[in-house]
């Protein structure tokens, strides 16, 4: 997946300004940066949720906008923060919707199998018949991830998956994301606010500032005092934990 000179502006204000990068396959890539830096917008453009003004997103040899929506849905999944559904659906029903791109309204035995496995993978088997609006925030987030797993795509895009989660559930979510990559071989792109989660759990970090890429590289390349201080305008101190560069700020 490659982005070429993506540009997007709202009401004359440029939020994404000629952004180009290439996403390495089979890795976890975190988008970080201050509010309004354009991370979520770029992610929206990558997943065709947001129309770009100019530039291109090449996905598997074809521009994203030229893919049939249903076909793209089998290869690329996105979860946004607006996935906060006030609907009385069971976990099973939600997860089986992940099979929609494959068989439409008719669930085949294979689809049911995939949905079951996804629920098992996210340890939700006991909750399969519970309504999602009765679950805790962490459980609900896991149900959405199960749906994405059932969707069986090579690429998974997550917009702030740890939003609204406490430390226990957030770190659990990050471990799950790591497993999506390591065990299921998916390429995961996520927007994160907690830079230490990004440092600890991802392979690459793409830092955005003012609609441009401020830094893009391996965790070690991006997570250093100078880059982060310049990015957020706050003093940082770096410490080394288990070979990962973590940051302190206050």
């Amino acid at each position: 997946m490659r982005a070429n000179a993506l540009t997007k502006s709202y009401d004359g204000r440029t939020v994404v300004d000629h952004v180009s990068f290439e996403i390495p396959k089979g890795k976890v890539i975190s988008f970080i940066g201050p509010n309004g830096a354009g991370k979520s917008t770029v992610m929206g453009i990558l997943s065709r949720l947001i129309a770009r003004d100019s530039g291109g997103v090449e996905f598997a040899g074809k521009d994203v906008s030229r893919w049939k929506s249903g076909e793209l849905a089998k290869r690329l999944a996105i979860l946004t923060q607006s996935n906060n559904i006030q609907m009385k659906l069971t976990v099973w029903e939600l997860v089986s919707f992940g099979r929609f791109p494959y068989s439409g309204s008719r669930l085949t035995e294979r689809d049911a199998q995939a949905a079951r496995q996804a629920i098992e993978y996210m340890e939700l088997t006991d909750l399969a018949d519970s309504y999602i609006d009765e679950l805790s925030g962490g459980q609900r987030q896991r149900a959405y991830i199960a749906m994405v797993i059932a969707q069986d795509t090579e690429y998974v895009l997550l917009d702030e998956p740890t939003n609204n989660l406490d430390i226990y559930h957030a770190s659990r979510m990050m471990r799950t994301i790591r497993r999506l990559c390591d065990e299921l071989g998916k390429t995961v792109i996520l927007v994160l606010h907690e830079i230490n989660y990004a440092a600890f759990y991802s392979d690459f970090i793409c830092a955005f500032a003012d609609g441009k890429i401020a830094a893009f590289g391996s965790v070690k390349e991006v997570m250093n005092r100078e880059t982060l201080s310049a990015l957020y305008g706050v003093d940082f101190e770096m410490i080394d934990v288990n070979g990962k560069p973590l940051s302190l700020y206050y």
Partner: protein
């Protein structure tokens, strides 16, 4: 899945109870009226009695069933597509717009057949619904209760224009039959409603999952490769067409589209595939029950069904509101980790 079985049996039981109740009420409805058709009198009275059954009672029953099924399914679709449990043909200006369409038909094509009027009603209902949806998508209300309030105001404005034009052109009398729904005039040959409503219900069922997915939002739909605008437009078109069909044949039947889907969703959840049949049957039972009440309380006369539905419906609507508010408050006091915007009380 094994653990699903208990749930399935419970859900089946709900469906079976509805089906049984519907059958019972339908048979009962055939034998309530000025002319006694009870017991052996159909046989004894010979062909004359049988004619009454075929000419008057049966078409009436079919019209009632279709009106109940149609309005509740139209309500279910509108609620899902607009992502708001308080939106329905009544609270979304669809009903009022359909009536406006009939007035236009009466004004411009006084000799129009029922099909001509249906076309006018459909066009107006569609325009009204679409304008309303466009409006609520533009203005994102913080409180879900605002949306139906705006819809009711919009509906009343349309209704006001209808009344004014009807008064101005001395059409009030002619129009009144479409303003208050009743089944007294449905006789043999008036099967249009059946032809109109049933194909639309089948289409709604075929695309049930599409509507569900669109009901979960634009991003969610696009992720699964569903064309949001197309399905939203298609679903609202079906809902408007059903509403227009019912209004043209029997007049306005309020509240059904608001209340029935909400009650059924408490038992069956929000997956349309799983709840459409129950919603349809429950809607039919509701209208049938109200029609029976209307025919029995002042027999040998009868009261328009709209009146009975209005009384029962508004009471249930208030109960529904209170229940939602209480549940919403419980969430705040229990401090469950619901995000702030879920606190308004709109759940399930």
């Amino acid at each position: 899945m094994e653990h699903k079985e208990a749930g399935i049996i419970k859900e089946r039981a709900f469906t079976l109870i509805l089906a049984g109740g519907l059958l019972l009420l339908s048979v009962f409805s055939l034998f309530v009226g000025v002319i006694d058709l009870r017991g052996g009198s159909v046989v004894a009275g010979g062909l004359g009695r049988l004619d009454i059954l075929l000419i008057s009672r049966l078409p009436r029953l079919l019209a009632i069933l279709c009106a109940g099924v149609g309005m509740s399914v139209a309500g279910l679709l509108t609620q899902q597509l607009c992502m708001n449990k308080f939106v329905s043909p009544t609270t979304g200006a669809t009903l009022a717009s359909a009536q406006f369409g009939i007035l236009l038909a009466l004004l411009f094509m006084p000799r129009s057949t029922i099909w001509g009027r249906a076309a006018f009603a459909f066009a107006a209902a569609l325009a009204g619904t679409w304008a309303f949806v466009w409006f609520i998508q533009r203005i994102k209300f913080k409180d879900t209760v605002m949306t139906p309030l705006v819809g009711m105001m919009f509906g009343n404005v349309v209704g006001g224009v209808t009344s004014f034009l009807a008064y101005r052109f001395s059409m009030t009398q002619a129009l009144s039959s479409w303003l208050a729904g009743h089944f007294a005039l449905v006789l043999r040959g008036r099967y249009e409603i059946v032809y109109l409503v049933f194909p639309l219900i089948i289409v709604a069922f075929a695309f049930a999952n599409h509507f569900n997915i669109v009901g979960m939002g634009r991003d969610f739909s696009q992720n699964l490769g569903v064309n949001y605008n197309l399905v939203l437009f298609g679903g609202l078109t079906i809902a408007a067409a059903i509403t227009a069909s019912v209004v043209v044949v029997v007049g306005s039947i309020p509240y059904i589209g608001l209340i029935v889907p909400n009650i059924v969703s408490m038992f069956k959840g929000d997956r349309i595939r799983g709840s459409l049949l129950d919603t349809a049957m429950f809607g039919a039972i509701f209208v049938l029950g109200c029609d029976l009440i209307g025919r029995v309380v002042v027999a040998p006369y009868e009261m328009p069904v709209e009146l009975i539905i209005g009384i029962l419906g508004s009471a249930l609507f208030v109960a529904m509101l209170i229940r939602r508010l209480n549940r919403g408050r419980k969430h705040i006091t229990l401090g469950r980790d619901m995000p702030p915007r879920a606190m308004g009380g709109m759940r399930s």
